[in-house]
């Protein structure tokens, strides 16, 4: 049993840790951007800039200040929700990111749901007959899932369902039809890893005594699997979800670019192409924060799901 005070202390410790990670990420991206080239010079590319023009622009953007001072200004702003202004559009970075978060969240949830809808049946069937042909098939499915280039899978789905069959749009946002192909691409990519997680945690659970007891009571196999085994198998699946967030994010960036989905991923790609450094910096810091917070939430969810867990 976890005491409320212990839990509070645990959450505080994790939050401090999370803040440190986010701070470190912001330093890394900040330094990396400034060490690898002069933003002012690359912004003036193509117009054969004079030294004077570059210096003026550097001054206007605050790039002539010492590095630590620039970071200090960035950090002070960030703490007040001000992530700077986009070089490209002149809009505040924070509101640009805010306007795209909803689309990315929708895509992420839809992709995770599609992935789970594929992964649970595949993983459960594989676990019920370990080392059978079905299991081998499930294993090949999972390996194929991690072997597909996600951008290519998206293009193949477009080729089939948009170009050849003309059933679904290849891009767009706002209708359910436009969500189907991006969510399917993301779901197929994720279902590979997810189905392995479901399989291994089901295998683990099926060995336990309570499953044998449930069977011995004469319960239907279906009820044993769905009501007794699956519920307990969910716990490890949830914990490992944290380790798939990286894959999720990578998938989202490519899926958004391929389907012109108006989310954070396509915004990041545009920002990188335009060398819009404040925007790039803001996106990296915000995404890192979200990743850290989601990992924290997953760990807390784990505590709620399994009361036997002790805080380290």
């Amino acid at each position: 049993m976890i005491w409320p005070l212990d839990l509070a202390w645990y959450v505080v410790r994790r939050l401090v840790n999370a803040a440190a990670v986010i701070l470190l990420v912001s330093v890394v991206v900040f330094v990396a951007i400034r060490l690898t080239g002069d933003p002012a010079a690359s912004m003036l590319q193509g117009v054969e800039p004079t030294r004077q023009a570059i210096d003026q622009l550097r001054h206007a953007l605050g790039l002539d200040q010492p590095l630590w001072r620039q970071y200090e200004l960035f950090l002070a702003g960030a703490l007040h929700g001000n992530l700077g202004t986009s070089y490209d559009t002149g809009q505040p970075v924070a509101s640009l990111i805010g306007s795209r978060l909803g689309a990315t969240a929708l895509l992420a949830v839809a992709g995770l749901v599609v992935g789970a809808l594929i992964a649970f049946p595949v993983g459960i069937i594989a676990a019920l007959r370990p080392n059978s042909l079905v299991d081998l098939g499930a294993r090949m499915f999972a390996l194929a899932g991690i072997s597909f280039p996600n951008f290519w899978l998206g293009i193949m789905l477009i080729t089939i369902f948009s170009v050849a069959l003309r059933w679904l749009p290849a891009s767009g946002y706002g209708t359910w039809q436009s969500l189907v192909l991006p969510a399917l691409t993301l779901g197929l990519i994720l279902s590979g890893i997810q189905s392995r997680l479901v399989r291994s945690s089901m295998l683990e659970v099926l060995r336990h005594d309570y499953v044998r007891t449930a069977r011995a009571k004469g319960l239907k196999e279906r009820s044993v699997i769905m009501r007794h085994a699956l519920r307990n198998a969910l716990i490890p699946v949830v914990t490992y979800m944290g380790s798939t967030f990286g894959a999720l994010l990578g998938g989202i960036v490519f899926v958004e670019v391929v389907f012109s989905w108006p989310g954070i991923g396509s915004l990041a790609y545009q920002a990188v192409e335009q060398r819009d450094f404040p925007l790039v910096q803001g996106i990296v810091v915000v995404t890192a924060s979200l990743l850290v917070l989601m990992n924290l939430l997953v760990d807390l969810l784990y505590l709620l799901l399994d009361p036997q867990i002790h805080l380290e």
């Binding site: 999370a18 990670v21 986010i22 470190l24 990420v25 890394v28 991206v29 990396a32 951007i33 690898t36 080239g37 690359s42 370990p130 080392n131 081998l136 294993r139 090949m140 390996l143 194929a144 991690i146 072997s147 597909f148 280039p149 996600n150 951008f151 290519w152 293009i155 193949m156 477009i158 080729t159 170009v163 291994s200 944290g242 380790s243 990286g246 994010l249 990578g250 960036v253 490519f254 670019v257 990041a268 790609y269 990188v272 192409e273 060398r275 790039v280 996106i283 990296v284 995404t287 890192a288 990743l291 850290v292 990992n295």
Partner: protein, 300 residues
């Protein structure tokens, strides 16, 4: 008279026995054989691709532009997989793209393997504040939006072979560090390590001559799977126009170019994508099998 077996002899014998066991398990596993076949094809294309009429393979010929593959009406035997908008031979382009993908993936694996393994060995055996700090860095990677960082680095620093290698290696080294560290921690208190310590072996000797050979199997498994990950990541960067150079056709940039012809010339996206898929699948199948062989409890 029979000479007593020297330690080298017995070592060689166990190695031989291990080799035979692997070979026996290998031929019994269809997925390992298929995986090895894909990998072999990839390696052959890498090694012999450049020798096969290096210029003719990707020569421009506008009269023969956008020809379909041989099995489609209008296809030509000269262009088994069809031709692109400049009349270049798609098969030739895919074969020459193999070299780029594999070279980059393998170079990056060597870099991240060396760095990650050294860090893992050090922090596992010596520990201390430095070891802890290094492992904290690997924790950081978990929260790092790596793909965004890769895009940023490539966009700022511009195209280049070694830049791609560095970006790929940065993404991979933490896995080696984590696994090598946990294995080193297990090995550190084994009898053979105690014996080596008692006989006065130096720290470096214990780490590299005694511990490293005992954990090399897991490093090899990881490296095999890591090649697959790197091929995918390189293709992704090239797809976004952030690869080694826009003028060198790699699998990822071929898919990106083919996108413009998706309505008229499907083969331009389909075949380069299959090249990526089959080579990645090959390394994944092989790595998956190696992992099973090394750890029979896994997956059963």
């Amino acid at each position: 008279m029979i000479a007593p077996a020297s330690p080298e002899d017995t070592q060689q014998e166990t190695r031989q026995r291990k080799g035979r066991r692997l070979a026996r398990l290998f031929v019994r596993s269809p997925s390992a054989v298929i995986g090895a076949l894909f990998v072999l094809l990839t390696v052959l294309a890498t090694v012999f691709g450049p020798l096969l009429e290096p210029h003719a393979a990707t020569a421009i010929n506008l009269n023969e532009a956008l020809l379909p593959p041989i099995f489609v009406h209008g296809g030509s035997a000269m262009y088994p997989l069809g031709s692109d908008y400049l009349g270049r031979n798609l098969l030739g382009m895919i074969v020459s793209g193999t070299r780029i993908s594999v070279d980059l993936a393998v170079l990056a694996v060597l870099c991240s393997m060396a760095v990650g393994t050294l860090i893992g060995l050090y922090s596992g055996y010596a520990g201390g504040w430095l070891g802890n700090l290094l492992m904290r860095l690997t924790d950081l990677q978990m929260a790092f939006p790596f793909i965004l960082m890769a895009l940023t680095l490539m966009a700022i620093s511009g195209p280049g072979l070694w830049k791609v290698v560095v970006v790929l290696a940065l993404s991979g080294w933490t896995d080696y560090a984590r696994i090598v560290r946990s294995q080193t921690l297990q090995q550190r208190h084994m009898l053979y390590v105690n014996a080596a310590q008692a006989s006065g072996a130096s720290r470096a000797r214990i780490i590299f001559r005694h511990i490293l050979p005992n954990i090399s199997d897991s490093v090899i498994v990881l490296a095999t799977m890591n090649i697959a990950v790197n091929i995918l990541l390189e293709a992704g960067l090239a797809f976004l126009g952030l690869g080694i150079s826009p003028s060198t056709p790699s699998w990822g940039s071929m898919v990106a170019d083919g996108r413009n012809y998706i309505e008229t010339a499907w083969w331009l996206t389909v075949f380069p994508g299959f090249a990526i898929f089959f080579s990645v699948m090959g390394f994944n199948l092989l790595g998956d099998w190696l992992r099973d062989v090394n750890d029979p409890s896994h997956g059963h």
